[in-house]
């Protein structure tokens, strides 16, 4: 169910672009999905194939770029990747860190005819 609302969101974006740019066919859709977004891309294509039937997005291939989660320590300035959601600085052990990447979930671009 949840994948369905996501794929519907993607289709809405494609449809609103189609109004602006007047294309007839979408070959591929580039998505950016951060590791902390909670979205697991494996199933999106299959749901998308079903949900996009009869829309301008029908037949498009989803190209997914995963973005790893990263943090920066507010104490020592160290930057590193976040593993298993753990927000502890790998250099000094502080929990005073901020997330700098990994929450992304957006349509980056469309390849159209």
């Amino acid at each position: 169910m949840h994948e369905l609302s996501i794929t519907e969101g993607i289709i809405k974006i494609v449809e609103s672009e189609a109004k602006k740019h007047h294309f007839n066919k979408v070959n591929s859709i580039k998505l950016v999905v951060g590791e902390l977004s909670g979205v697991f891309p494996q199933l999106i294509q299959e749901y998308f194939n079903i949900a996009s039937r009869g829309t301008i997005a029908e037949g498009a291939e989803l190209i997914i770029r995963r973005v790893e989660a990263r943090m920066k320590c507010n104490e020592c300035g160290n930057e590193s990747i976040i593993e298993r959601h753990r927000l502890r600085c790998k250099n000094c052990g502080s929990l005073n860190v901020r997330i700098t990447a990994g929450k992304e979930f957006y349509v980056d671009s469309l390849e159209v005819d």
């Binding site: 169910m1 809405k12 902390l36 298993r84 927000l87 929990l95 957006y106 349509v107 980056d108």
Partner: protein
């Protein structure tokens, strides 16, 4: 031809959530989003919270369930305005559903809205619904590995309630471990050990919520 788009996919949910936030800001309403597994004790906690918080605030409840009216009827018996939101199979509540349901309440007569989200540790955490605070419930019988297994829920909640604490001696539940894992996911999380049966630990939670509510709403 390539068209650059760069648009958030769940943007409509964010927009809608912000719209609800604006409405509640104007109407001076505080919203609590209660999340946790099926049977973790969401309704039991909400009933106990109502009994305490109604001394200070006018409360209303939105009961999210995939089907049925059981939980809403429990709240209605307490003479509290309640609307059952049936998601027809969907595993989480989206902001749009909350927005549509607000017309059933008299917002001028409400200080605090408590939402019982769908019993699920996964995707309710991905959808903001206009809430001011998220309360995640983990009950002792579910096991002490759940924070580790469902990190998003616990990393986005301000409050973690370890519920059914009265049953702790029957389970190998290492609450120190849960606490330290939760803090690594979410350094500012506030953790409460509660029994909704004996009401142990409830006072501390009520006081924390009261402080948070009073910070926002003017009486």
């Amino acid at each position: 031809m390539e068209i650059k788009v760069v648009k958030q996919i769940l943007e409509w949910n964010e927009d809608c959530s912000n719209e609800i936030k604006d409405t509640f800001e104007k109407k001076n309403i505080y919203m609590i989003n209660v999340m946790g597994s099926p049977g973790a004790g969401k309704t039991s906690l909400i009933v106990n919270l109502i009994n305490e918080l109604r001394k200070y605030y006018k409360i209303a409840v939105i009961e999210g369930d995939i089907a049925g009216q059981i939980d809403a009827e429990k709240i209605k018996k307490m003479d509290i305005p309640v609307v059952q939101l049936n998601t027809d199979g969907a595993c989480h509540i989206e902001a749009m559903s909350i927005k549509h349901i607000l017309q059933y309440f008299n917002l001028d007569e409400i200080d605090v809205i408590i939402v019982e989200n769908i019993g699920n540790l996964v995707c309710p955490a991905e959808f903001n619904i206009g809430e001011d605070i998220r309360v995640a419930i983990l009950s002792i019988p579910e096991g002490d590995d759940k924070v580790e297994k469902y990190p998003l829920m616990f990393s986005t909640s301000e409050i973690l309630v370890l519920n059914k604490y009265d049953m702790k001696s029957y389970f190998d539940f290492d609450d120190k471990k849960v606490e330290s894992v939760a803090r690594e996911l979410n350094p500012n999380i506030n953790i409460f050990r509660v029994s909704n049966k004996t009401k142990e630990g409830l006072n501390e939670l009520v006081n924390a919520l009261k402080n948070a509510i009073d910070k926002k709403i003017k009486k």
